[in-house]
Amino acid sequence: MNVSKELVLSLYRAMAEIREFELKAREIFRSGRMPGFIHLYVGEEAIAAGVIACLQKEDYVTSSHRGHGHALAKGIPAREVMAELMGAVGGCCGGRGGSMHLYEPAVGFLGTNGVVPPGIPIAAGAALSAKLRKTGQVAVSFFGDGAVNNGAFHEALNMAAVWELPVIFVCENNLYATETPFKAATKNTSVASRAAAYQMPGIEVDGNDVLAIYEKTGQAVQRARRGEGPTLMECLTYRWFGHHEGDPGTSYRSREEVEMWKQRDPVRRLREQALASGWAEPGDFERIDEEVRSLIEDAAQFALASPQPKAATALDQVFCD
């Protein structure tokens, strides 16, 4: 695969932005100023960055409860995501959705979701629409290991395969569904192998290797745009923190296991690989780090200053007509 400096730096920037955003959200949450709950993506950044780098603005994405990374990578401005987490008017949904219900049609973002499995058939449906309208758009569904034993997964993958829909199903297997280990709840622990049941390609990839993800996704997207149908990708990864902020994530996971996966930090890994291979210089990364820090600081200020929506608007928009 041809690795250009431009590609490396844009993937790095996407991951760094997610990392910095999540840490800032965590800080605000812990200060007691953020309503609701957040589910942080720290450790999994390579998947959102690597997959979405292969998509155009008008391609579709559905996500799960752990979706800030997908929202940012797809192009919802950091300020609007952070304000949405605050339930404020400056949020992408005017405060009505919050972390688990982020929507933005301008960048094809069909929602993070408080329920995980629905995003899978919804993405397939967007792909169906694209196919009917002959636009060449593709759809991507992000979900975790917790979704793959649900009926919606089975039904949607089968229908996508039967109708040869341009959709890519991306399983972010971080080994735990809330606190349930994947292997305790699953007979066949190879998610990628399930693709064979639907006669679609099943790809397993290191979820902390952004370049590998970018390469494999690129192939899947090309297949989809050529009308060759769906792909199932399983990205093996790990979340550094608990299921949600408030869950330390260590009552059901050993500290050794957590430390081992932190060593595979996808952000640091790309930087080290890039420097070692001569794709970029230290100054490039320092510059991006500084820009990202500034961007996220601005997003936080904006979000904290953004007002709550007026109660008088609570009954608006239940219907269009």
């Binding site: 449906g125 009917l132 928009q317 239940v318």
Partner: protein
Amino acid sequence: MAKTQSSVRQGLDETSSERVGTYVEAGIEAIRDEMRRDPDIFYMGQGIGPRGGNFAQTRGLWNEFGDERLRDTPIAELAQVGLGIGAALAGSRPIVDIVFFDFILEASALLIQQASTIHYISNGKFRVPLVIRAAMGGVRNTGPHHSHTFYSFFMHIPGLRVAVPATPHDVKGLLKTALRSDDPALFIEHKALYNAKGPLPAQEYTVPFGQAAIRRPGKDVTLIAVSLMVSKALEAAEILEREGISVEVIDPRTVAPLDKETILQSVSKTGRLAILDEAYAACGFSAEVAALVSEEALDELDAPIRRICALPAPHAFSPSLNDYLIPSVDRVVREVRSTLRG
């Protein structure tokens, strides 16, 4: 008997249209018109393609529109509705045919948690122009898994429109409205009505949501009836007329939105209310209407409200049990008459 039948038919005449058609033909006409008019509309469901639908409810459509727009699906209602939602978000206008309304339960989570909420929680950025079509109710002892009428479950949820047409005229007019609306809508027909004949205008028209029809004007008691029960209400009204009791029969046509005004106006005229529903009484449509009228027109009532509903048991298969459980014309007559006692 013949007189009863003709006045029942008269009660269902909405217009002076000379053209007559069946309830099932009305739905096909509406869909065909709208699919010709709007290339974004497509149709998914089991057996709705070459087969023309379990109730012949899509007969002829596949011949005209083909596999692209008339898509047979596997038995996977959750995915049918899920794909429908996704397609709607991306700009298409899908119809998902669940066939037997009972099976909507497989997809309820998608409908209630996703379809009904997205426009609101996205702050108006996304629309879900999805139409769910299904046939409810019992016919020929369809039994416990194929007879349900729980449309009130969806009437309960903000963000969903629920249409329950009783006549061919209304099937065509309401389905067109549903297909042109950008809100998710449940279009619930009744399987026992598919062969019912009625006026069916050929020209272009729509029936708005939230507008009830007074099927029979009266002055002594208001009788609200839904779907198949409208014809039972009219039969009962005919019988009661001979006893000197004048019954006003109202067909809500849509339950969400519900035409409260027509109901309240009628109750202030008659002072008495009975609600006839094939569904159960508990937390159903009849409970909602009773609550509304109690809240907003208590002073107008001269008698307690009567709910004439399916008795609280599963839909027994045996005809003798089924006939007892589902409101009969006799039961309607007795219950309505009782509103005038005391």
